[in-house]
């Protein structure tokens, strides 16, 4: 363009020769038309934000890392969570921050001879731990495996025979193995997941950024991601909640089995054990020589740590009655 183009139409600046910086009616309309449509498109492209319902409160946004929270801070956090849950589910929960007990290291033992593959543990876990029902989040997967093989590739999650157990197969429930050397903890870029002194690997849902690295790192498919806002019927909420355990999660955070912190750190057995009709599940303190799990690891001959060769050193043992 030449510095002073000839005015062939009324479109050029200062059609009447008003000098630089002026704008005639036509060019104003045109420019503002383009601008307005651009703004409209931009606003419309943000339409998915209309679906956003739970905003992060300022208090949550400013919250410190779990390990830096003082007792007072934690009380405030628990109070905030209580209010949020009450608002959302119309139920007053008892949210606590259960700490690991001294001299306790949890171990899980599962008797593959006894498991009949009824999947009751899966659903007791969902009910206890306030998992989303639709879309479904489940911490336990039961693999149906052919006898005589430990090849995970042959495992079937989706069996639906009218009755179980089926002849020629054994059933292997898989959940978080609470590894002594957890790969999921190593990859977390923000330290939102860590191993506690009683052996439970926990997640702070307020700190998780949802990058899903831990899901990729876990060799046991133990971690689940909340792709959408979890949906739980109001009458199905378990009001006994723990900060690092079963309090309701948000969209965009990871979750997984935490050995029912709200139960086990209060001395109780986990929910999956309590519902097992075959008594295949055993849980307890490995540091106590009189515990059931100590007895099993001392006396039972064959026990399997899943994918032992990876060096994750699970605290979850599979054994057989022989």
């Amino acid at each position: 363009m030449t510095p002073n183009p000839p005015c062939s139409s009324g479109a050029c600046n200062g059609g009447g020769g008003n000098g630089n910086g002026g704008m005639n009616r036509r060019s104003f309309l045109r420019t503002s038309g383009v601008l307005a449509s651009g703004i409209a498109a931009l606003a419309a492209s943000l339409a998915p934000l209309r679906d956003l319902t739970d905003y992060t409160s300022a208090a949550e946004f400013m919250q410190k890392h779990y390990k830096e929270l003082s007792k007072d801070d934690m009380d405030k956090v628990l109070d905030r969570i209580t209010r949020e849950v009450e608002k959302q589910y119309a139920i007053r929960p008892h949210v606590k921050d259960y700490k690991p007990m001294d001299g306790v290291e949890f171990v899980y033992c599962l008797n593959l001879t006894r498991c009949i593959g009824c999947r009751k543990c899966v659903h007791a876990c969902v009910a206890e731990n306030n998992q989303s029902r639709d879309p479904e989040i489940q911490y336990i997967r039961v693999l149906k495996m052919p006898h005589g093989s430990f090849d995970m590739e042959k495992g079937d999650h989706n069996y639906s025979t009218p009755t179980v157990p089926e002849k020629g197969f054994f059933y292997m429930p898989v959940q978080c193995q609470q590894c002594k050397n957890p790969p999921c903890v190593k990859v977390c870029p923000v330290e939102a997941t860590w191993q506690e002194t009683d052996g439970i690997t926990v997640i702070d849902y307020d700190w998780c950024i949802g990058c899903r690295y831990c899901e990729a790192a876990c060799p046991y498919f133990a971690r689940r991601f909340n792709w959408t806002k979890p949906s739980i019927p109001k009458d199905s909420i378990n009001p006994e909640m723990s900060y690092l355990g079963n309090r309701p999660r948000k969209q965009g955070v990871m979750e997984k089995c935490h050995f029912c912190i709200q139960r086990t750190r209060a001395g109780k057995y986990p929910a999956c054990l309590e519902v097992c009709p075959a008594g295949a599940r055993k849980f307890g303190n490995i540091l106590d020589p009189n515990s059931e799990v100590s007895y099993i690891l001392r006396t039972k001959k064959v026990f399997v740590q899943l994918k032992e060769e990876l060096g994750t050193s699970p605290r979850f043992f599979y054994y057989f009655d022989v």
Binding site: P5, G33, S37, V126, E136, S160, V275, G279, E292
Partner: protein, 215 residues
């Protein structure tokens, strides 16, 4: 400015408006909704044991007349057990509800292996102890030693309640809470529904075919 830039500007404006409409009306759509997942039946989260033992039945106020054997039978007068040609017990019509299948070699086909022939309201162990019907666990243990040892350690069968015995009580189920003494093999049951994937998994039957041909 020339005519071309005019057209370009109008074009951009139109494109923006089309985009705006597309966003607002969701022209390319969201991911199609997956079918709703039904809530799981409450029976699958029920923690009660798989069967009701006599002890539990009577504790809950059940009718005890079924277990008062001496209403029909006479004490100290053992009934002779009848066998068919295959050495199976022929059950009298009063006891046809019993399905006797204890042990896989038909050797345990004698009622008096467990019941006391002199007093049918009692059980007897092979070493001569007499036990009440509601107290059958040591009787089972008199044959199933290793299993009984595991049970005593809390390892066979379910132990519920508190793992930390300093914080609360625990309870242990007796044999008959899971096993029918006459037919002790743990029965099969209906499995709870399997997982619903976020996106339906495509079936690959061809894979299984090819696997079979390799074998």
């Amino acid at each position: 400015m020339n005519r071309n830039s005019n057209i370009a500007l109008v074009g951009i404006a139109v494109a923006f408006l089309v985009l705006a409409a597309a966003f607002v009306f969701d022209l390319w759509g969201r991911t199609p909704a997956t079918p709703p997942i039904p809530l799981v039946d409450k029976k699958f989260v029920d923690t009660s044991p798989s069967r009701v033992s006599i002890a539990e039945f009577l504790r809950k106020g059940g009718d005890p007349s079924d277990y008062e054997c001496n209403i029909c039978h006479e004490k100290n007068k053992p009934i002779k057990i009848k066998f068919d040609a295959d050495n199976n017990i022929i059950l009298p019509k009063e006891h046809l509800d019993i399905a006797l299948s204890h042990g896989s070699h038909k050797r345990n086909n004698n009622c008096y292996n467990c019941h006391d022939e002199m007093n049918l309201e009692l059980l007897q162990t092979r070493d001569g102890r007499q036990l009440k019907l509601v107290d059958s666990t040591p009787l089972c243990g008199s044959c199933h030693g290793p299993t009984y040892r595991d049970w005593e350690a809390g390892v066979h069968g379910r132990t519920s309640g508190f793992w930390d015995r300093g914080l609360g009580d625990y309870s242990r189920l007796g044999c008959a809470s899971c096993h029918n003494p006459h037919s002790p093999k743990f029965p099969g049951r209906e499995p709870a529904p399997g997982p619903h994937a976020l996106h339906p998994i495509a079936k690959a039957p061809a894979h299984h075919e090819s696997e079979r041909t390799h074998e």
